[in-house]
Symmetry: C2
Subunit: 113 residues, 2 copies
DNA sequence: ACCGTGTACCTTGTGCTACACAGTAGCTAA
DNA sequence: TTAGCTACTGTGTAGCACAAGGTACACGGT
């Protein structure tokens, strides 16, 4: 067993939650679609076994809500929609995310004082 | 016990490693100093119980190396210095970090297509 | 019509690992 | 002694990877 999960997997922590909420914000989407959209960016690609438990957790926390809707071609789809609580939470997350990235940028581009 | 570690704690994952290496790059520093410097940014503040195990891990992986040096006033200090392997690793981490932040920016600022 | 295969779609369980938190301990100076 | 500086340790938490499992629809062959 190799020493260690990819470091990038650690980096992704928390980020996935932010991205999923950010994607759902623009309109309802279903799980498989989310996975496909995220896969466009190599750095954000996740397996379904990572995504679906997250969606369930967000549902349990009342940040999103799901509804079954027929598919034009294929099995029934579970569409997720952002709830007001989720919207507020998303705004706080975005603010926190920017605080973090700004701080890291300062550390990395640090002028030694 | 409250349900849930702060979300920001999840976000920090992996980030700390990047910041520590980034700080050590500019010259040798000791653990306590690192903790103090990181604490300047609220988003990056970590307890010593988080920092020291990380420093040990980075040492074991050969990315940094430590040496004891006396303090002008106080206990002996353990100074850390970046090794060549650490420098290469840091560059890869920075690239990965930028890939991630760029991707997240696209997702959040996404024009729904 | 029936059957098999592929694909879209959702679910579950186990293990790993970094971080939080709280505690321990020694050394120096006032 | 007190107080601050400095390093270390142990336990718990929680999300992500990985690897399966399972259902429903579409399509081709017969």
């Amino acid at each position: 067993m190799q020493s260690g999960m990819e470091w990038s997997a650690q980096l992704r922590r928390g980020t996935l939650e932010l991205c999923v909420l950010g994607m759902i914000r623009h309109g309802q989407v279903y799980g498989y679609e989310l996975a496909s959209r995220l896969a466009r960016w190599e750095a954000l690609a996740v397996s379904e076994g990572t995504l679906y438990p997250l969606l369930r957790r967000l549902s349990n926390e009342g940040l999103i809500e799901a509804s079954w809707q027929p598919s034009p071609a294929g099995p029934v789809r579970k569409y997720y929609r952002l709830r007001p609580e989720g919207e507020q939470w998303l705004e706080r997350m975005e603010a926190e995310w920017h605080r973090l990235t700004d701080s890291v940028a300062e550390v990395l581009g640090e002028r030694s004082e």
